[in-house]
């Protein structure tokens, strides 16, 4: 399959790639204190393995994966655990989450790093190794890679394995730089993935505005049979379903994953960490972050996870005047941060210090004029204005009828809306409400079951008590046994004087 396909909609956005992609990746300076969040991935939060006062080595596991969809978290440097508590993390809510705070000792002492020969390892052992090395998707979603490297239940045989180097969001260049500088390691990681998934073909999709990266990857892939494909620069070509469509022509059905149609997709930086985990024995403790926007020297930095954003910005010469907002991720899909003291996580691909020029000017929201511009750009083939009406009216059932959950929140519709309606905000709101209602329903169902179980237990206990009472006083409780005693009592009463007559009458009343 050599031709390229296309997806519906999308945008030509401003690029702003050259500001940060000219310089080589720099290592970050070692911060004094690292705050490592235990939830850096999609799925269950990692279970802390350390407590305040513990000494940890660089690469030591400090958070254990908890459940199938989860990933491990490691100490990014050697030092002493200061606290395991709730700290601010990069999240749109600004709420704190569980973190392990480590004071670095400056020695950078590693754990024993043991490279393994993945060809000799059983696939499930290899997946477990990656899970314990904390390998997650580094494109921004941070989904545990070990789960995606298991095909069971999805498809018999994988048709295509895609490596995603599209990097379609403006400003971000971390994947561009890693492909230029570490192509051989990325391909080495790709070998491990190919070994696990055994795909029929391997495609590497890179947007055509990165000729150096394409050249580097093509050179590294020489003789491997992996094909590098330049895809047109059109946002959001780096979104999974859109890239799958571009490279294979396959449409991913509603409510299913690309793997259901025989395609699996990983980010280039994820392949790099797979290589480090397997062939160097190093877990994921750092990632490459683009620092862009209103900073003096925009560039890419290989930052330890848990390092505060402020330190990275300082390494880029500090802020320039006119910073209005700090955004994690790109300007299209990123979110505003509440502080620059929050730590880098596995999902941090970019820190954008946005000034007035990068932010959409604050203009009044006007009513929807049904121009249909949003429909034309929607890469998921949805009807954004219908979704908007229903989300705005809180008619969540109807929004779901229009496939609300197929929305990838790429922001194309909001970008082109002439009335400047914050469309994606409405979709996020509706999705969150639906999830919350679902959770509430589950909780109500649990309460109903527990209430019913209690009612049944109370009823059973009542019956047991009655049975016990009957057992304790068998002659009184059994009406049949009582009858002769009444008759004898009456007979006795006839013969005897008054006092025993009274007792007989009492007995008779009780049995009634």
């Amino acid at each position: 399959m050599s031709g390229l396909f296309s997806f519906h909609g999308g945008l030509k956005t401003v690029r702003h790639k050259t500001e940060s992609n000219r310089e080589a990746i720099r290592a970050s300076v070692l911060p004094q204190r690292l705050t490592v969040p235990l939830r850096q991935h999609i799925g269950a939060i990692a279970k802390p393995l350390v407590q305040a006062g513990d000494r940890v080595l660089k690469g030591q596991m400090i958070g254990q994966p908890d459940g199938y969809i989860s990933a491990a978290v490691h100490a990014p440097t050697s030092g002493v655990v200061k606290a395991v508590d709730q700290r601010p993390v990069p999240h749109p809510s600004g709420l704190p989450d569980w973190c392990v705070t480590i004071d670095s000792d400056g020695e950078e002492r590693w754990i024993a790093r043991e490279p393994v020969d993945y060809r000799r390892l059983h696939p499930s052992a290899l997946r477990n190794l990656l899970r314990n090395a904390g390998v997650v998707g580094l494109g921004g979603a941070a989904f545990p890679s070990a789960v995606k490297l298991n095909l069971s239940g999805h498809c018999e045989r994988l048709e295509t394995l895609i490596l995603n180097g599209a990097e379609c969001e403006p400003w971000i260049t971390c994947d561009d730089r890693i492909m230029r500088e570490r192509a051989a390691e990325i391909v080495a990681g790709l070998h491990v993935m190919v070994h696990l998934l055994e795909p029929r073909e391997v495609l590497i999709g890179i947007e055509d505005d990165k000729p150096e990266a394409i050249a580097a990857m093509t050179a590294a892939c020489a003789g491997t049979g992996y094909a590098v494909r330049a895809v047109p620069t059109r946002y959001p070509s780096g979104s999974v379903k859109q890239l799958v469509r571009l490279l294979t022509g396959k449409e991913t059905p509603v409510d299913s994953l690309p793997v259901d149609v025989g395609v699996q997709c990983f980010n280039v930086a994820t392949a790099y960490t797979v290589h480090r985990a397997v062939e160097c024995g190093e877990p994921v403790i750092s990632r490459i972050v683009t620092i862009a926007g209103h900073v003096n020297q925009p560039r890419n930095i290989e930052s330890l996870l848990g390092a505060p954003f402020a330190g990275l910005v300082a390494q880029c010469g500090g802020y320039r005047d006119g910073v209005e907002r700090l955004i994690m991720g790109g300007p299209m899909m990123g979110f505003a941060l509440h502080s620059d003291e929050v730590p880098v996580t596995k999902a941090t691909n970019c820190v954008l210090a946005a000034g007035a020029a990068e932010l959409a000017p604050e203009q009044p929201v006007m009513p929807c004029i049904r121009c249909g511009a949003c429909v034309e750009v929607c890469p998921a083939d949805l009807l954004p204005q219908q979704l908007y009406w229903h989300a705005r009216a809180k008619e969540f059932d109807k929004a779901q009828d229009y496939h609300l959950f197929s929305c990838i929140e790429c922001g194309c519709c909001s970008y082109v809306c002439p009335s400047r309606i914050p469309l994606v905000q409405y979709y996020r709101y509706a999705k969150n409400e639906i999830w919350a209602q679902e959770k509430e329903k589950q909780k109500a169902e649990l309460a109903r079951q527990r209430h019913q179980a209690r009612q049944e237990r109370l009823e059973r206990e009542k019956q047991e008590r009655e049975a016990k009472l009957r057992q304790k006083a068998p002659p009184r409780a059994e009406p049949n046994a009582e009858k002769p005693s009444i008759e004898t009592a009456v007979a006795r009463a006839k013969a005897a004087p008054a006092p025993s007559l009274a007792t007989a009458a009492g007995t008779g009343q009780q049995t009634d």
């Binding site: 709101y429 409400e433 309460a447």
Partner: protein
């Protein structure tokens, strides 16, 4: 004509058999409307509606003995859902039954608990753990916030606290548009 009569007769007979079979095979046990009402109710089991739990209230609504606006934990949303299910007009919550409150969870001050088990007996969902003359505690995950444990406590050591918001329960808010300028307000500020 003869053929038509036979054909129609056979058709009618076959349909009758089919319907008869369906009536036996797919028989509905109980009153499905009670189940549907019960599914809408929040299962707090608090008794604020005047009935001994959510199911008795559901039965009363189905029988026409209770109105649909007597459930404070269900709130406006619950009333709207009931109104839609039953084809009635939604109405405001009856203030006699109480007011809609944010989600709460009971917390026992364990220092002051004397281990009397009265709250354990009052809890409709068995969410309180403990034994006679031993400290009790609330299983927060199972607590429905019904407040039924407050009254029986002889030392008033149970408090209702609002359920704290965490990253896992945080939601994007409804986009707020500034009425004066018409510009979208910050979701976090709103």
């Amino acid at each position: 004509m003869f053929v038509a009569v036979i054909a129609l007769g056979v058709l009618a007979g076959a349909s009758g058999l089919l319907l008869g079979f369906a009536a036996v095979r797919f028989r509905v046990e109980g009153d499905p409307i009670v189940e549907k009402i019960d599914a809408i109710l929040p299962q707090t089991q608090c008794g604020q509606c005047g009935f001994a739990g959510c199911r008795p209230y559901a039965e009363a609504i189905a029988a026409g003995e209770a109105d649909i606006n007597q459930c404070p934990p269900g709130g406006e949303g619950g009333i709207a859902a009931l109104a839609e299910l039953l084809g009635r007009d939604p109405k405001p919550l009856n203030p006699e039954n109480g007011a809609e409150k944010p989600k709460m969870v009971a917390v026992i001050d364990e220092q002051n608990c004397i281990g009397c088990t009265l709250c354990i007996q009052a809890c409709p969902v068995d969410a309180i753990l403990g034994a006679a003359k031993h400290m009790h505690t609330v299983i927060a995950r199972e607590c429905t916030g019904c407040e039924l444990c407050l009254a029986p406590c002889p030392v008033d050591c149970i408090q209702m606290v609002p359920v704290a918001q965490t990253i896992a329960t945080w939601k994007w808010t409804y986009p707020v548009v500034d009425a004066k300028t018409g510009s979208p307000a910050e979701a976090s500020v709103a």
